[in-house]
């Protein structure tokens, strides 16, 4: 009997250790997908109000088109096979999680590849992710100005270019929440959890509404 007790204890300890290791490795994995995941929220100061674009229907777009609406913005390109569909899928899931509150948000996809992303090709792209997703392209100058005010970097990955048409782009892949006044409110890093993103967006929208009504009173 006495020899059996340590054996059982050892088995229990081993089981606990194995379970803990599994749980810890699971948590580490969920929080660190290739080093690009994990939600980050920070303010960015630039105003986006003066930016102009061409949307996926060929219509010019400016500040008046977003008046009074929040924007959820992702920069990418339609030939992007891995990162952009993931980012837009996260955005769409977050919008679904927001329910009715999502109606006050205009989801926006801004192309950093205006050479290939014509209004027609963007129209065929954005519809796959969200029915209200607005695809924006423009002249290289318009896109450069937009990227600058958001602090987005992008460049053509020439080492992978083989033909003229199927080159890849390197680009920032964060998601931005912009207020109705065109001023940035929050940044989410690529790979953020959609539920957490939705909760943060809701909180930011509520605090924005609160500060706006206080300004009206004073």
């Amino acid at each position: 009997m006495k020899t059996k007790v340590p054996a059982t204890t050892a088995a229990v300890v081993a089981a606990v250790v194995v379970t803990s290791v599994c749980v810890v490795s699971l948590l580490v994995r969920q929080n660190g997908t290739s080093g690009v995941g994990g939600p980050v929220l920070a303010a960015f100061p630039a105003s986006t109000a003066e930016l102009t674009f061409i949307d996926h229907t060929g219509r010019p777009v400016g500040r008046q088109d977003f008046a009074g609406r929040f924007q959820l913005v992702f920069f990418g390109y339609s030939h992007c096979p891995d990162v952009c569909p993931s980012g837009l899928a996260i955005m769409a899931t977050a919008l679904r999680a927001l329910g009715d509150a999502a109606e006050r948000i205009q989801p926006v996809f801004i192309s950093i590849d205006p050479e290939r992303d014509t209004p027609e090709s963007l129209a065929d792209y954005v519809r796959h992710f969200h029915p209200r997703l607005l695809g924006l392209s423009g002249t290289p100058e318009q896109i450069a100005a937009a990227a600058k005010s958001y602090g987005v970097y992008y460049e053509r990955s020439d080492d992978q270019a083989e033909g003229a048409s199927d080159y890849l782009m390197a680009h920032s892949a964060r998601t931005y929440l912009v207020g109705p006044d065109g001023v940035g409110i929050a940044i989410f890093s690529h790979g953020s959890d959609p539920e957490q993103m939705a909760a943060e967006i809701l909180e930011q929208m509520q605090s924005y509404a609160g500060s706006a009504s206080r300004e009206d009173v004073s």
């Binding site: 030939h79 993931s86 899928a89 769409a92 065929d124 792209y125 796959h128 460049e155 083989e162 892949a173």
Partner: protein, 167 residues
């Protein structure tokens, strides 16, 4: 056996047999599906193979999958071939200077007992020069060639554009 029993037309089909056949079919479906998802050659196993449907006019696509080595020696994934694209290669999405970009990662080494997960925003099979669109619901073959385990042909299941996994 059960299939012929179910399909046999002679004689009236009792409602109980109809229900039994239906439930039999429903039970068998996920099993054969799961089998199609995991393919083994030698010590290497390939499973959870899926691709995202093409959105727009792109000539690029991706395949995600899980590789595992159940043997006692390392193996290397040395070649990828698919009829749907001009070229297939292992790429990894990496972050550099505030930008995400892709770097080639082949040949991919799988150590004994190791599993490598290819998933969105990480490692993936990059398809370049698609010959046709990757369409949701359709599948296409992908051949993975390993130094030791040889070639494995898997069926790539196509999920929606907004999918984040094979399920």
């Amino acid at each position: 056996m059960s299939v012929t029993w179910c399909l046999r037309k002679s004689g009236p089909v009792s409602p109980s047999r109809r229900w039994l056949c239906l439930s039999l079919l429903l039970t068998l479906l996920p099993v054969s599906y799961a089998r199609a998802q995991a393919t083994t050659s030698g010590d290497v196993r390939v499973e959870r193979v899926w691709a995202r449907a093409s959105a727009g006019t792109t000539a690029n696509g991706v395949v995600y999958l899980t590789l595992s080595n159940h043997g006692e020696r390392s193996d290397r994934l040395v070649a990828l071939i698919t009829s749907i694209a001009r070229e297939a290669a292992i790429h990894e999405t990496v972050q550099k200077n505030g930008m995400l970009s892709m770097e080639e990662r082949g040949p991919l080494e799988i150590r004994p007992g190791e599993s490598i997960v290819l998933e969105p925003s990480g490692l993936h099979v990059m398809l370049m020069g698609l010959k046709r669109k990757i369409e949701e619901g359709r599948s296409f073959p992908l051949t993975l060639t390993f130094e030791r385990a040889g070639s494995i042909v898997v069926d790539v299941v196509v999920r929606g554009v907004g999918a984040s996994g094979p399920d």
